[in-house]
Subunit: 601 residues, 2 copies
Amino acid sequence: MPTYTAPTRDTRFIVNEMLDLASYSNLPGFEMATPDITDAVINEGGRFCSEILFPLNQSGDQQGCTRHEDGTVTTPEGFKQAFDQFREAGWGTLAQPEEFGGQGMPHVLGFAFEEFISSANQAFGMYPGLTNGAISALIAKGSQEQKEKYLPKMVSNEWTGTMNLTEPHCGTDLGLIRTKAEPQADGSYAITGTKIFISAGEHDMADNIIHLVLAKTPGAPDSTKGISLFVVPKFLVNDDGSLGERNGVVCGSIEHKMGIHGNATCLLNYDEAKGWLVGEENKGLAAMFIMMNAARLGVGIQGLSQAEVAYQNGVAYALDRRQGRALTGPAEPDAKADPIFVHPDVRRMLMDAKAFTEGMRALTLWGALLVDLTHKAATEEDRAEADAMIGLLTPVIKGYGTDKGYEIATNMQQVYGGHGYIEEWGMSQYVRDARIAQIYEGTNGIQAMDLCGRKLAQSGGAAIQAFFKMAGEDIATAREIEGLADMAEQLEKAVGQQQAATMWFMQNAMQNPNDLGAGAHHYMHIMGIVTLGLMWLRMAKVATNRLGDAGDDKPFYEQKLATARYYMDRYLPDAGALRRKIESGSASMMALGEEAFATAA
Amino acid sequence: MPTYTAPTRDTRFIVNEMLDLASYSNLPGFEMATPDITDAVINEGGRFCSEILFPLNQSGDQQGCTRHEDGTVTTPEGFKQAFDQFREAGWGTLAQPEEFGGQGMPHVLGFAFEEFISSANQAFGMYPGLTNGAISALIAKGSQEQKEKYLPKMVSNEWTGTMNLTEPHCGTDLGLIRTKAEPQADGSYAITGTKIFISAGEHDMADNIIHLVLAKTPGAPDSTKGISLFVVPKFLVNDDGSLGERNGVVCGSIEHKMGIHGNATCLLNYDEAKGWLVGEENKGLAAMFIMMNAARLGVGIQGLSQAEVAYQNGVAYALDRRQGRALTGPAEPDAKADPIFVHPDVRRMLMDAKAFTEGMRALTLWGALLVDLTHKAATEEDRAEADAMIGLLTPVIKGYGTDKGYEIATNMQQVYGGHGYIEEWGMSQYVRDARIAQIYEGTNGIQAMDLCGRKLAQSGGAAIQAFFKMAGEDIATAREIEGLADMAEQLEKAVGQQQAATMWFMQNAMQNPNDLGAGAHHYMHIMGIVTLGLMWLRMAKVATNRLGDAGDDKPFYEQKLATARYYMDRYLPDAGALRRKIESGSASMMALGEEAFATAA
């Protein structure tokens, strides 16, 4: 049977030691996040996910969701009860504003919990996850009345939320949407159209579902500039907060997917459903991007999450399964064979996983801190700086994090040999669940273009220059620390590759934008590799500082240093190859027309 | 609906122009393979697979196989009828010896057909595929009586065959097997034990199933030196060739797998089943390796096959789906959006797929020619040379071919965005089916060790030196051809990286074998990259020669040259990064003990 234990020790290391969350106690919300509180939240959150949600993960995959003829949807056995427990424990309220019933804790804790919930049960975690996205859009763009009407019950998870963007003929290119919003005399709109791929679009886990829907008002421009955002509750909400009549939105079918079977992915038919404009008319895309940016970070975390749970099971199998002998001679001569853990190629896959998950955990939690600082840093300048940095990192966290997450989950399945391919062992689910994260909330190709086409160029390249400056400072201080000079140099070379690639874009992309498009994916990967390298250098610094007085914890810091070294040896070399690919430009990539891709019999 | 057309034009290009099969007409079996015959076989074989087998692929995935209480197994609807057609058309007899009813054609044609069958329906193709493996073991090691009894009906596909190696506690390490073979007074053996993961182990498509089974005789050495091979028919065969009583081998269950649902993966219980020794006692492993080497090449072809069918569907979607605009301005201004084919990141994935599938097709067909030459070349020296080369290439074809095949299938799914994740569209199946090829017939980690631990060192490195010499000659001649000098130089650099990595192994692996194990996977990938580069250089040469007088075929040769250029630009750079990883050795990889991999809460 698969196992999962939330890696809370590592989370506490990052939060308390690497990020030093306590040092931000002067900022609003952070004052509550004392080490004893954060430790308790992390530990209890981890326990809840490991003990309550993980046991429903495999059965949820096997059972999936069922749509009934009346359009209602039943989630897998146990999901509803677990969501009741989740709601009662208040896990959804962690980082939500106090004004709407939240606990107002830093996002750092919210993100830590998101990792655990997605590792334990990604399909389950998407129900509150989508709700969080909808909450952030309503907070940013909703009217006071809308906030008061919807937010308290969404924050408490009595109701859940959804994001409705995609239609059968359009996903990435939202300018093409056809769903219509006709203004009504009472100030509401009648929403009509078909939305697809709506995660958590219909289910039996909450009393109401608050849909946020993109649609076009009559005469709106026929482009992304003509999209408006509407709030469309499944059940209308009376002025006293009680539920009124059923709205005209019905689940027409649920998709049969490769994974995340426990989450209902719905086709929703809107037939003159009653909706209300959120924010300004024709400014829906900006509102949607508020949800989207939060969601993209959440999806990046899913990449980490599936890698983590797959890794834990990979380790368990590698220590249990015995085949062959160590190349250096029998490790356990009295047994008939050694555990496969002794084989370098198995260790390679485990170390790749360990180096990725721990580095990615550091990156997502640092990203969460930046999100907090975007809102809460003391000065406008600090807030703007944090905003630019997390804007730059978001496509990297989403795109690189999920590409690698899928790769690591696949490798951990590989550790199992033939048993990895059998559903009973659970490894296939991690691969299948991880796969979606590369696709939704903007495919990773879109992330790469967001990074290279928008974020690199913003404000004259200020964000990427700030990133290089910060990396340079980290490298310079590490170089002075005994034992870290080699690693600092390795990272410096990789940063140099990224700088060269950046320069190449600057020199070429203006004349030929395809040169940018042709290298965007590779650039996103270089930046992911470099950024995780930076995280490892920071962790190595902390570990070096702590080694002297760590007592019983000494092995923890020693393994951090060893893993940092592995990361520099085995991840960074790809930066040079990726740069060379970028510098080959778009000529050979775009040389062939469509007839060259036809299969000739 | 997914589509598939066997890429016969490309196959004919490789067989007739790159390999110039006609030039081998002096060798036995090749004299029949005149261009008109080979073209007809390729075209008809392609048509059979595209028209008869592909339509059963998705339904076979959805239905899977069903085991009944009596141990019988029903294959998906249509499989039995299609296998009847397959048998009647004689597709299984192509490259089998005439003496047992085969057509005695070169393996080049057999491999070409194997690609088509696996693209069209991998789960189906495994039934005759496993039969071919069993046939080759019986041809090599069976007694005259066994050959006469079993081979004609196996070659004709009236009966199918299986390979029984794995047991619940052992797969890679066959020295651990527990299945017993007790000698009986009549010269037969009573076989008792449990075998798992037996592909095509039980089904309703043929009258009899001939199991080849590894087991231990009483008192045999407790290691791989104590394994013997037995032939165990599902129904005993009377002396007149008619079927006798049901043997004591029963399907206890079938596995619920990630993919290849149309193939029954069985647990087989042997309860004093009647079996007969094949070859010498305690020499079963060598006999098994005859099957295994054939099977590994077949599995490498599966990597190509899934990439190919996924690629064709990726192209279809990229040309059909419209989202956004080309970076260089609207490609089709009158439409509301351009086909996603215009986006460089989509083109990157398509070009990666095209460069891989066409290069890999060339490699597998060249590999097939080497297999033929192993048996049929004119001199002992030529035969030995071919044997050494295909021995070196086998783990590369299997390991690199299936790693990349899975990656390409995943990328083609990515082209579909959200629709790629929905089973109805068919892309998920290609990914799930491709996944097994990295695992079975020796995991890719085992392939890497076979390459680096055995094949590199064999005969003092003769095979790898021959490979480098051959590559050097190809590069030298290409350098003199107008338009190819750049590509020759790019490939030369990559070969240099492989040579440096080879040298590093020689200097380090003797003192520390873990240095070899730590780099084996990366070396297998360098060699795959270089070998496909060599194939592309050869194809580019042929294309350059033909361009002048190609007439209407000119675009075909032009796109070959453009794709060759893309391959050199975008695949070769990884060789340098992989070399650097190898040279980082095993120190950081093996530094941590098992306690460092425990999850601390």
